[in-house]
């Protein structure tokens, strides 16, 4: 299994470690519920070093990326990131990622750890046939950088003290902005982004600086209630926020339109991989649609792969749960799953099959939780 630069730190903190996409990562340090709670009320510190980082640099970088990602990079000024999808020719999602524009001609893609190989393969294939390939350089720099995420309402109270004073403070970043900051004499990237539904910051640092960065953030944040948080809490938090996870809601056989991500597909920007299929699907409609649901009343939590059924006298199978959990914040079972569009309207009653019985549930709008 692969280890991030923070592996010794996780061991020292007594984390319960699990295998995740080929990486040995902390599931929790004290408890999933405690760490989830810390993020919602104070702040949590996550090791996200396993994420993919792919750099595209050069005069043709924008044109190349805009021809292969769904969102419109022309809209992106230097110092900003945008959520985007990398699709195949059928409009199916190869990965969901953040495309950050560091400079006019430098982009950094932050991708799922489990998809780095698939992303690099697809980008290199595309590059081989790209007429202006001499105008850019593509590199997989995933192992050169570590990263941490600081997430929660108190993050802004202490994050500035983690960096050396400079022209701007980290808290001056607006949502989705990214900039270079000075940490211990080295440049690091800080973005105001996250995966929990709370305010927060993600910091990308040279791999050898990651441990010092983690320690500095933890020491600075502890008096504000900052706690280390693992993948268990990361999953319950993102589910409450209604965010998809690759391998659950997103895969190569599902389009962004089916996943409710049409906002991030710029059909009018010009051609990109999968565009013609997506344009057609936008007109014709989709046969499946991602919906969010809440269990109606006391019930065991919904879990991935549990079948979904229509309600009423003659229940029919309509899909399956893709993500599900007992929501720590809401105190009830919540989940996501694909259903035919006619079952996807809020307030539609459905059944979640749990151990042979159909537990009643209700389609609801996303997100389940919004920060105050």
């Amino acid at each position: 299994m692969k280890h991030t630069p923070l592996y010794p730190t996780h061991q020292q903190l007594g984390a319960r470690l699990i295998e995740f996409g080929g990486w040995e990562m902390p599931l929790y340090y004290t408890s999933i519920l405690e760490e989830h709670q810390a993020v919602r009320t104070a702040a949590g510190l996550f090791d996200v070093s396993h994420l993919g980082k792919i750099r595209a640099r050069g005069v043709a970088a924008l044109e190349f990326l805009n021809g292969v990602l769904t969102n419109d990079l022309r809209q992106l000024p230097p110092g900003r990131g945008q959520y985007s999808l990398l699709c195949n020719e059928r409009g199916g999602m190869v990965d969901d990622l953040y495309a950050c524009r560091i400079d006019a001609e430098e982009f950094l893609l932050i991708a799922n750890a489990s998809r780095i190989g698939a992303d690099v393969l697809r980008l290199e294939e595309r590059l081989a046939g790209f007429a202006r390939r001499g105008g850019l350089e593509l590199s997989n720099v995933s192992d050169d950088f570590g990263a941490v995420a600081v997430q929660g309402p108190k993050a802004a109270a202490f994050i500035d003290s983690c960096f050396q004073p400079g022209a701007r403070a980290a808290t001056s970043l607006r949502k989705n902005e990214i900039a270079r900051f000075n940490f211990s004499g080295q440049p690091v990237f800080v973005s105001r982004t996250g995966y929990t539904g709370e305010d927060g910051f993600e910091v990308i640092a040279p791999a050898q600086m990651t441990e010092a960065l983690w320690n500095k953030v933890l020491d600075t944040g502890r008096p504000f209630g900052l706690k280390p948080a693992g993948l268990g809490a990361r999953d319950t938090l993102r589910t409450e926020a209604g965010y998809p996870l690759y391998g659950h809601e997103l895969d190569e056989n599902t389009t962004p339109l089916e996943a409710g991500l049409g906002f991030f597909v710029a059909l009018d920007k010009g051609d990109f991989t999968g565009r013609s299929v997506l344009a057609q699907q936008k007109i014709a409609g989709t046969v499946k649609k991602l919906a969010a649901f809440k269990m109606a009343g006391r019930s065991a939590p919904p879990r991935p792969r549990y079948p979904l059924w229509s309600a009423g006298a003659k229940p029919e199978p309509i899909g399956a749960v893709t993500s599900g959990t007992q929501s720590p914040t809401l105190g009830m079972g919540i989940g996501l799953g694909y259903v035919p569009p006619q079952f996807s309207a809020p307030n539609t009653a459905i059944g979640v099959e749990i151990r042979g019985k159909h537990a009643p549930a209700l389609i609801v709008p996303r997100p389940f939780y919004r920060k105050s």
């Binding site: 929790y28 519920l33 268990g232 065991a300 939590p301 151990r355």
Partner: protein, 128 residues
């Protein structure tokens, strides 16, 4: 491995404990088991009146990460279930041998208790 194993209980290989009081007994899961499960969020208990056979799957513990079956350590009729677990499933984690108990049975055959593990043997099982 959690080595909190009270000496007055007996244990099943599947990590249930049993505390005998005359002809009835309380049943729950061990500290080791709750630690492995992580935070318990829901417990499905058997109906009062249900007759259980030793080894029969009779309850389900749902943690944040996973669902686990609970097995009757001995045969008997369910005479009571823990009314607090519905609102406070976390008691299974915080008090596995006390307030986190699952259900009470009337023993059908006390001789079955001899087939269960002593505290020493349960320790050997979880920490070989």
């Amino acid at each position: 491995m959690s080595a909190n194993i009270p000496g007055d209980l007996r244990y099943a290989k599947s990590h249930e404990w049993i505390r005998v009081n005359g002809d009835t007994a309380d049943i729950g899961i061990s500290d080791h088991a709750q630690h492995e499960l992580t935070d318990v969020v829901f417990v499905e208990l058997p109906a009062v009146g249900r007759k259980l056979k030793a080894g029969e799957s009779c309850a389900v513990v749902e943690s944040v990460k996973t669902a686990s079956d609970i097995y009757a350590p001995v045969s008997g009729e369910v005479v009571a279930v823990n009314p607090r677990l519905a609102q406070h499933p976390g008691l299974v984690n915080s008090a596995p041998y006390g307030d986190g108990w699952f259900f009470k049975i009337k023993l059908a055959d006390p001789a079955e208790l001899d087939r269960l593990l002593s505290p020493e043997n349960y320790l050997k099982q979880i920490a070989p």
